[in-house]
C-alpha cells in the first residue's frame, strides 16, 4: 500500500497550496470525448457507465488480466495528495486528489524486466461519449509514460477528489495524475494499462508532434509554438488576478528533475 513516508519531502510541503473549490474543479474540464467546451464534460459525462468497470492490464506483466475496479481497490491504499495541476493551455489549479501510487498497482501485477514504458487507454464509448463522433483526435485517447516516471512516488491513480468519489467529468472511476507534466498526460477513465518495450503513442503527440511532445513536462522555458508557457492563470483567483510564474516541472523539480539528467528538454519536450 502507499505509505505517505515514501513520498519525497518536497511533495508533502502542501500546506502552502490552497486547493481550488469543488465547483471549479468539477466544472472546468478538458475531456474532449464529451465535447471541446470547458463545461461540456460536466454536462455530458453523466451518461458514462462506470459501474461495472474493468481495467485490462497486459503486456510484460506477471499477472495479466481483466481487473474489476473493485478488485484493484481491494488491494490499494487510498491517500490524499494535494497537487498543482498545470494545463498545457497555460491555466492551473490546485487539486486535492485521493488515490494510490501507480507503482503499487504495477508492483502488484508484477512488472517484467523487459518493460520500459507504460501505455494507457481511455474508454471509447460512442453511445455515451458525444464528442467522439467528431475527429478532434484519433480515438481512443492514449497516453504513455516511461517506466521510471510511472514508478515515481509522485505518480498516482486518482479515484477521488476532496474525499469524494471522482466525478465522471474528472475521469471516473480512475485516472492517472502526473503532477509535473501538462494535464493532458494525466489520462482519464482508464480501461487498459500495458507494460511495453517501445515508446507507446500519445494522442496529442500523434495529432500534432510539433506542439505536443511525448514527455510534456511542465517547463516555463520551452514555449508551446502558439503561446508562452512562462506564466499561467490560476483558475479561481479572480478576473483581474495577475498571472503567476510557471515553475520548472510544475514545482516538483526537486523530486523529478533527476529522471531527465542528460536529456535536452528542448528536444525531448
Amino acid at each position: 500500500g502507499g505509505i505517505a513516508g515514501a513520498v519525497p519531502k518536497g511533495a508533502l510541503a502542501q500546506e502552502s497550496l490552497e486547493p481550488n473549490t469543488w465547483e471549479e474543479i468539477t466544472n472546468y474540464c478538458n475531456y474532449y470525448e464529451f465535447g471541446t467546451g470547458k463545461e461540456d464534460p460536466a454536462r455530458y459525462a453523466q451518461a458514462l457507465t462506470i459501474d461495472p468497470w474493468t481495467v485490462r492490464i497486459d503486456g510484460l506483466v506477471d499477472k495479466p488480466g481483466d481487473y474489476s475496479f473493485a478488485d484493484i481497490m481491494s488491494q490499494m491504499t487510498v491517500e490524499e495528495r494535494i497537487y498543482r495541476f498545470r494545463c498545457v493551455e497555460a491555466w492551473s489549479m490546485v487539486i486535492p486528489w485521493n488515490g494510490f501510487e501507480l507503482a503499487d498497482l504495477l508492483n502488484w501485477v508484477g512488472v517484467q524486466s523487459g518493460a520500459k514504458y507504460v501505455a494507457f487507454e481511455t474508454a471509447l464509448r460512442p453511445d455515451e461519449m458525444p464528442g467522439v463522433s467528431r475527429p478532434v483526435l484519433d480515438w481512443p485517447y492514449v497516453e504513455g509514460l516511461r517506466l521510471d516516471e510511472a514508478m515515481h512516488p509522485l505518480t498516482m491513480m486518482a479515484t477521488g477528489i476532496y474525499g469524494r468519489d471522482i466525478l465522471k467529468q474528472n475521469g471516473a472511476p480512475l485516472r492517472l495524475v502526473v503532477p509535473w507534466k501538462y494535464g493532458f498526460k494525466s489520462i482519464k477513465s482508464i480501461v487498459r494499462i500495458s507494460l511495453v518495450e517501445d515508446e507507446p503513442p500519445a494522442s496529442w503527440n500523434v495529432a500534432n508532434p510539433r506542439e505536443y511532445g511525448f514527455y510534456s513536462n511542465v517547463n516555463p522555458e520551452v514555449d508551446h509554438p502558439r503561446w508562452s508557457q512562462a506564466t499561467e492563470r490560476l483558475i479561481g483567483s479572480g478576473i483581474f488576478a495577475t498571472r503567476q510564474p510557471t515553475l520548472m516541472f510544475n514545482g516538483y523539480a526537486d523530486e523529478v528533475a533527476s529522471l531527465y539528467d542528460g536529456m535536452d528538454l528542448r528536444i525531448s519536450f
Binding site: E24, Y28, Y32, R134, S228, T231
Partner: protein, 204 residues
C-alpha cells in the same frame, strides 16, 4: 415579405445600432463579473468578444449579397455595422492584453505566434477603415478611393477566419464553419464576367 421588411427598415435610422451596440459588451462583462460565465471568466469574455467580432464582420459582408440575391436593403446600416465591428475587435484585443496576457511578452507573441500575428494584422488593417468611417473622410477621399480603401474588409475577413482556424486545439468544426461562411460571402462577390476574362488570360 421582403418589401414589407424593407419598408419597415426604412423607418429605422442607422444610429439605433450605435445605441444597441454596447449592450452585448456590457452584458458579457456583467455576466463575467457575477460568475455567470463559468469558472474562467477572463477567457470566456475574450472568446465571446472574438465571436461577436466575427458575427459582425459576417453581418457587414452579408449586406451586399442580401441585397443582390434576396432584395433586402440593409445598405444604410452597413457603415454602422463596420464601426461597431471595429469596437468589438478593439474590446477583444484589450481583453486579451489586460485580462489574459497582462502585457507580458506581447510583442514577442505578436511576432512569434501565428494566430496572434494574423489577428493583429486584421486589427491593424481595420484602423484606416475605422478612421475613415465619417462623412468628412468620404468627401476628402472621394467615393472611388474610399470604396477601394474599404475593400480592405475582404482581407480582414480572411484573416479573422484564419485567426480562429489557427487557435483551436485538435480538429474542430466551429472555426471551419465560420471560414466557410466567410468564403461563401467573399465568393458571392466574384463576378462571372471577370472570371471569364481571367480564363481568357490564362489561355492566352
Amino acid at each position: 415579405m421582403v418589401d414589407y421588411l424593407n419598408a419597415a427598415l426604412r423607418r429605422v435610422p442607422a444610429w439605433v445600432l450605435y445605441i444597441l451596440a454596447p449592450m452585448p459588451v456590457l452584458v458579457i462583462f456583467y455576466l463575467g463579473l457575477t460568475g455567470a460565465l463559468g469558472i474562467d471568466p477572463a477567457k470566456r469574455i475574450e472568446h465571446e468578444l472574438g465571436l461577436w467580432s466575427l458575427w459582425l464582420l459576417i453581418a457587414g459582408l452579408a449586406v451586399t449579397p442580401l441585397r443582390r440575391w434576396v432584395g433586402l436593403n440593409l445598405l444604410k446600416f452597413r457603415r454602422a455595422i463596420g464601426v461597431i465591428t471595429f469596437f468589438y475587435l478593439l474590446a477583444h484585443l484589450l481583453t486579451w492584453l489586460v485580462l489574459d496576457v497582462q502585457f507580458q511578452n506581447v510583442w514577442a507573441d505578436i511576432v512569434k505566434r501565428w494566430y496572434i500575428t494574423v489577428g493583429m494584422a486584421a486589427f491593424v488593417l481595420m484602423l484606416p477603415l475605422a478612421l475613415t468611417s465619417n462623412n468628412w473622410s468620404l468627401r476628402w477621399l472621394g467615393p472611388g478611393t474610399w470604396r477601394k480603401l474599404h475593400t480592405l474588409v475582404y482581407p480582414i475577413a480572411i484573416l479573422g477566419a484564419l485567426h480562429f482556424l489557427l487557435l483551436v486545439k485538435g480538429f474542430q468544426w466551429e472555426p471551419i464553419l465560420y471560414a466557410a461562411v466567410i468564403a461563401v460571402l467573399l465568393l458571392s462577390r466574384v463576378r462571372p464576367e471577370r472570371l471569364r476574362s481571367f480564363r481568357l488570360l490564362r489561355q492566352a
